[in-house]
């Protein structure tokens, strides 16, 4: 737990530091009268990230000196079920964006879930992977008039 806490705080400090660097020109109140109210655009984000960075530095320090209890992950199985959820989701979004469009990628995603995680018979896998996308297709493309991303075959006449 300890090293995760420190690493998390460190990563967040880096993000805050980048934001502070980017807005450093507005860090100090402008006394020349050029900025409205004496503050430039960078003042507020600079000090917001400075506040976060100071708090995180203390969090990281305290994480090293106080006892840390509890495990981060609930065993190997927990990590596996997390990855089983996360990896296909990333694949879904990339495939949907680049090649397959929402409906085909979504159907594959539903099928994968039903088969690999739910261990359903193939017939139920097919039902879930066809029925849900078809309902979504008609509700969004026809009823709500929301056009979701289409596959690379859309230009060749495929409707989705």
């Amino acid at each position: 737990m300890r090293k995760y806490q420190v690493a998390t705080a460190a990563v967040l400090i880096v993000i805050a530091a980048v934001a502070m660097f980017d807005t450093r020109s507005g860090a100090m109140p402008d006394t020349s009268g050029g900025a409205p109210g004496g503050l430039k655009g960078g003042w507020y984000p600079f000090w917001s990230s400075a506040l976060a960075a100071v708090a995180l530095a203390i969090i990281a320090y305290r994480a090293t000196v106080t006892p840390q209890t509890g495990d981060v992950f609930s065993g190997r199985e927990g990590v596996m079920s997390l990855l089983a959820l996360l990896v296909p989701m990333i694949a879904l979004v990339i495939l949907m964006d680049r090649f397959l469009g929402f409906y085909i990628a979504g159907a594959l995603y539903l099928a994968w879930f039903a088969r690999v995680i739910g261990r359903y018979a193939w017939v139920w896998v097919a039902v879930s992977a066809i029925v849900i996308p078809v309902i979504l297709y008609f509700s969004f493309e026809s009823f709500f008039h929301v056009s979701l991303p289409k596959s690379i075959w859309f230009t060749q006449g495929l409707p989705f």
Binding site: Y4, Q5, T8, L12, I15, A16, A19, D22, T23, P29, T31, A35, P36, G37, G38, L39, K40, G41, G42, Y44, P45, S48, S49, L51, A52, A53, A55, L56, I58, I59, R62, V72, S74, G78, V79, S81, L82, A84, L85, L86, M89, L92, V93, M96, D97, F102, G106, Y109, L110, F113, A114, I117, G118, I132, L136, F140, F144, V146, L148, P149
Partner: protein, 522 residues
């Protein structure tokens, strides 16, 4: 009695068929979300936020009635899972596990446990709604007299509450507030027009949208966090509830009426406090119910004591209703869920705050009327259809989860037809998961994202008004003295320092204890 006239007008607005239809959709969705473990009310509101954008095109009142309806539905729905399955459907139903499930299983009275929770929930909601109705106008009128310095102090008080009353780590709350404010600042500076934190990316000029961030942090983040616990076996008690249970519940509540009323008022107050909603209210009320129980009943707690069910539930629902009061009158969300609802108001083009009471009277009073109707609706559905609702728990994880994820993706994409927003959902989903793991509170984060722009605007407006003199923030201005700004900022500073004072006191008492034991104090 102006409020009663306005309320009647609100009922006329809310009883419009479209508003009623959307309220029903919201309450039903909320009930389902409330019953499903691993998907909370805040997440439910976040996931359905995009749908509300489409509803708002027709009627903004219908859109807010729907979003708020999800909240009411989820407060009622969480009861079913806690009492019948011994797992919390919602974070605010955790307190119901202590006595709800024991009453259902050990004492064999699931019907009584459920009706007690439903009836007290309705009582809490209605009393809270009445307080809401009568406090709304005076608060809005007070807020209308606030200038930038006072409003800035109110926002500071909201952040200070999140820090001072945070039970875990106040430092983590501060860090989350900092990042929330930072995220809100990305894009054009609304005052000077200069781009901030865009790193040359044109896509970032318009800022990072509320909708994908909240869907990611709450919707996806929560699904990922609960994935590790998925597949846990749970016990189940069959739901049976009859009219007799309802009479028994009402009898029980009348016998302990003072406890019910006290906890409803406590819940309302916790809800009104910025950032704290139903979850802390229910825990606090459970503790109070146990502490102030007659001695002979104290031993019953944890074994199915009725007060252990109705006190937290009345308080939770009173808090959920109360949390919308500061949102609508001051523009400060009273709970994380209220913060997400408030993000919706911004997206529909409304500015939450006292001006709504003059410029959008139908909207405001329609919302207030819909709170009464929505809670009665949730109560009626729960009484009539609990066995049906409980069967939602049988819906397979491997069908529901991918469906919710697809729905989140559609929602994020459809608002701007942009894949960018889908990637933001994914990124913030992972961030939300990890922050939960590391015990960083998400409530300050989302409140800061939603309040970030307004806080900065009021701060700079105050400074422009004073010619850059920061003393305006503590109430000293060229016209003399503003007691509101002074009092509010004093309270904010005190709340900010509260954790530090507590820490130092703890250290001192520990130090002196160690010293008396003859050990070096450190």
């Amino acid at each position: 009695m102006e409020a009663l006239g306005e309320l009647a007008r609100g009922f006329a607005v809310a009883l419009d068929p479209f508003v009623m239809a959307m309220l029903t959709v919201g309450v039903l969705a909320g009930l389902i979300i409330g019953i499903l473990p691993g998907l909370g009310g805040t997440s439910g509101v976040a996931i359905l936020l995009p749908l509300s954008v489409f509803v708002a095109v027709t009627s903004k009142t219908a859109a807010i009635a729907m979003l708020a309806g999800i909240y009411w539905g989820a407060v009622f729905g969480g009861v079913v899972t806690s009492i019948l399955f011994n797992i919390p459907g919602e974070p605010w139903s955790v307190a119901l596990l202590f006595d709800g499930f024991p009453m259902a299983k050990r004492l064999g009275k699931p019907g009584l446990a459920l009706t007690l929770a439903f009836t007290s929930s309705l009582f809490g909601a209605i009393v809270s709604s009445i307080l809401f109705t009568f406090f709304a106008l005076p608060l809005a009128e007070l807020a209308l007299r606030f200038g930038p310095a006072e409003l800035f102090a109110v926002f500071m008080m909201a952040f200070a509450t999140l820090v001072g009353l945070e039970s875990g780590s106040p430092l983590k709350s501060i860090a989350m507030i900092g990042f929330g404010l930072l995220l809100a600042a990305v894009g054009f500076d609304s005052l000077t027009g200069e781009p901030r934190l865009t790193f040359g990316q044109i896509g970032l000029l318009s800022g990072i949208g509320f909708i994908p961030v909240t869907i990611g942090l709450f919707g996806l983040g929560e699904i990922l966090a609960s994935a590790e616990e998925a597949g846990v076996k749970y016990e189940q008690v069959a739901a049976k509830l009859g009219l007799q249970d309802l009479f028994d519940s009402i009898g029980e509540l009348r016998r302990k009426a003072w406890m019910l009323v006290a906890n409803t008022l406590i819940g309302f107050w916790i809800g009104v406090l910025p950032g704290t909603g139903a979850t802390p209210a229910s825990f606090l009320s459970y503790g109070i119910a146990r502490q102030y129980a007659p001695d002979k009943e104290k031993a019953n707690f944890g074994k199915g004591e009725p007060a252990g069910i109705f006190a937290p539930q009345a308080s939770a629902n009173a808090a959920s209703v109360g949390s919308l009061l500061p949102m609508i009158t001051l523009g400060v969300p009273g709970s994380p869920t209220a913060a997400v609802i408030m993000a919706g108001l911004f997206v529909w083009g409304l500015t939450p705050g006292p001006l709504l009471f003059t410029e959008q009277r139908d909207f405001v009073w329609g919302l207030i009327a819909s709170i009464y109707i929505g809670n009665f609706m949730a109560f009626a559905i729960c009484l009539l259809a609990t066995p049906l609702l409980a069967s939602i728990m049988r819906a397979p994880y491997s069908i529901i989860t991918p469906f919710i994820i697809l729905a989140s993706i559609i929602g994020a994409y459809s608002v701007n037809n942009a894949m960018k927003d889908v990637f933001i959902v994914l990124i913030f989903g992972v961030i939300g998961y990890w922050l939960r793991k590391m015990k960083y509170p998400l409530a300050p984060f989302v409140v800061a994202i939603v309040l970030g722009d307004s806080t900065e605007r009021e701060l700079r407006k105050a400074l422009i008004g004073s010619g850059g003199d920061p003393r305006v923030l503590i109430g000293i201005n060229e016209f003399g003295f503003s007691p509101f700004a002074a009092i509010l900022s004093a309270v904010a500073i005190a709340l900010f320092l509260l954790p530090l004072v507590q820490y130092l006191l703890r250290r001192r008492s520990r130090g002196s204890a160690a010293a008396t034991a003859g050990e070096p104090a450190g």
